[in-house]
Symmetry: C3
Subunit: 205 residues, 3 copies
């Protein structure tokens, strides 16, 4: 049998895949925001739209959990996964928002490396979500996300050390530290999603 789940349950997987798609859009906008000569106002507006679209998908999952008798896995795990994916979007949205608000003109190159980590995490998450249907081949996803989170953490620490090295003025450090910390929370949020998927897979196996 190709599918473990009935059609009504399959809708959940489509919605999780949709949520993850929003994250790849969000990570892409983050990369745009960091590019030289980016129109910050315009990117921030599109980020806001992407964040609202992600919110809408999250609410649809919650409504569906509340109105469906049989769910493909535990209700609390569905909530956990949906809100975990939503948290990633919120953190990425906050980064874009702070760059706009603080009128940061030039961003340290390390931020680009961190955004690449986020883009890779978003792609892997988007590829993994449809595999929830069969619960096959998910371990490579969470192992790779954990590896990326480690790389992101090293990157984060190097960025902080650089920020405090004396090359930046205090006011610039204040702005950039907020942004750098939000980027790290976004990477952590991807790891939380991967941990949730691992727990679900262990339970269901």
């Amino acid at each position: 049998m190709a599918f473990r789940f009935r059609p009504v349950e399959g809708a959940f997987f489509d919605l999780f895949a949709q949520q993850a798609q929003h994250l790849t859009v969000g990570a892409g906008l983050l990369a745009e925001m960091l590019a030289d000569g980016a129109d910050h106002e315009d990117v921030a507006r599109r980020m806001r739209d992407a964040e609202h679209a992600a919110d809408e998908t999250t609410h649809e999952i919650v409504r569906k959990v509340n109105s469906t008798f049989i769910t493909p896995f535990d209700r609390e795990d569905i909530y956990g996964l949906a809100s975990g994916l939503d948290d990633v979007m919120d953190e990425m949205d906050e980064v874009v928002d702070m760059i706009l608000l603080y009128e940061v003109k030039s961003l340290p190159a390390e931020l680009g490396a961190q955004v690449e980590v986020l883009q890779r995490c978003a792609e892997l998450t988007a590829e993994a979500m449809p595999r929830l249907r069969t619960m096959q081949d998910l371990s490579e996803y969470w192992i790779e996300i954990n590896r990326l989170e480690n790389a992101g953490d090293k990157n984060h620490r190097r960025t902080l050390a650089n920020l405090f090295s004396g090359n930046y003025k205090a006011l610039e450090v204040l702005k950039l530290k907020d942004i750098v910390e939000a980027l790290e929370r976004a990477v952590d949020a991807f790891e939380t999603v991967a941990n949730t998927v691992e727990q679900i897979a262990v339970k269901e196996s």
Copy 2:
């Protein structure tokens, strides 16, 4: 029948109303603290007293939940509402405490607008608590609090942009950012209370 609840249950409503009264006192002290020529030591001392009084009311609610057989609504909702109201007080207390501790002499005018939002939230919350008894006319309260939270958020973002505009020295930005963020958490805490009231009203209706 005028009252849905029995006398023993009515005591809970009196205590919630009392908690909200403490919040109007706290918001008033916050406004005093921001006024020109305020005696920071004296206002901070009175804020500490108000915070202790609010704590005492919170503990009384918790004791009453633990010793009462029938409660007017779910025990966890009573805890949630009581601790939500308590959180508002803690955030407002923290703002006053930081102004004293950091020896902030002059505060940007936008902070006054944010404190007005808090005073209005406190009044609305104090007016709404007695209406929990009948569960009537509560929707206008939570709608208005959500509107105020939106206004507060816009205010907050404008204040941050101004803080980082180059008009303030880095050390001053560091102090004011802490204060501004605590003010925003206080507004958010009022919204959390309103959301809790909405959930209770939906359940009981």
Copy 3:
């Protein structure tokens, strides 16, 4: 009867005592880190080892809870105590890590006083854990931790006021504030552990 618990249950107490021992090692390393002429790289490496050892003990407790039929007290309380002890270690580890990362050369004297509070908390916690076996003489432990947390809080506020007094450059304030706040979270984490012990003792008495 000398012991209230059976051998299998006794293993939990040994593990809690072991966790608390890690905390005394951690607090000692924190004191080393603050000493004049400390080799920051070396101390940070040993702190990382201590933190990993503490993690290992935490995981062993979690595994034991999951595989043991009868536990000495509620499973959720065992989780709560284990994760509370783990949180203390994480905060102390973060302090050491930030001193290394920010390349802080000279630390205000008040930090030493706060680390002494942490060392005293660690000793008291290590002495108290074996007394969980009999649930005797625990009240003096949590009362003293609460007193130390009050002293730590006064210390913390004095340090912050000094940081913002104009004696430090903004960049230095930014670094030190992070460190000072992590130290305070470590003290608070000890208080959370003491509160958990108090709740367990009250339930079991």
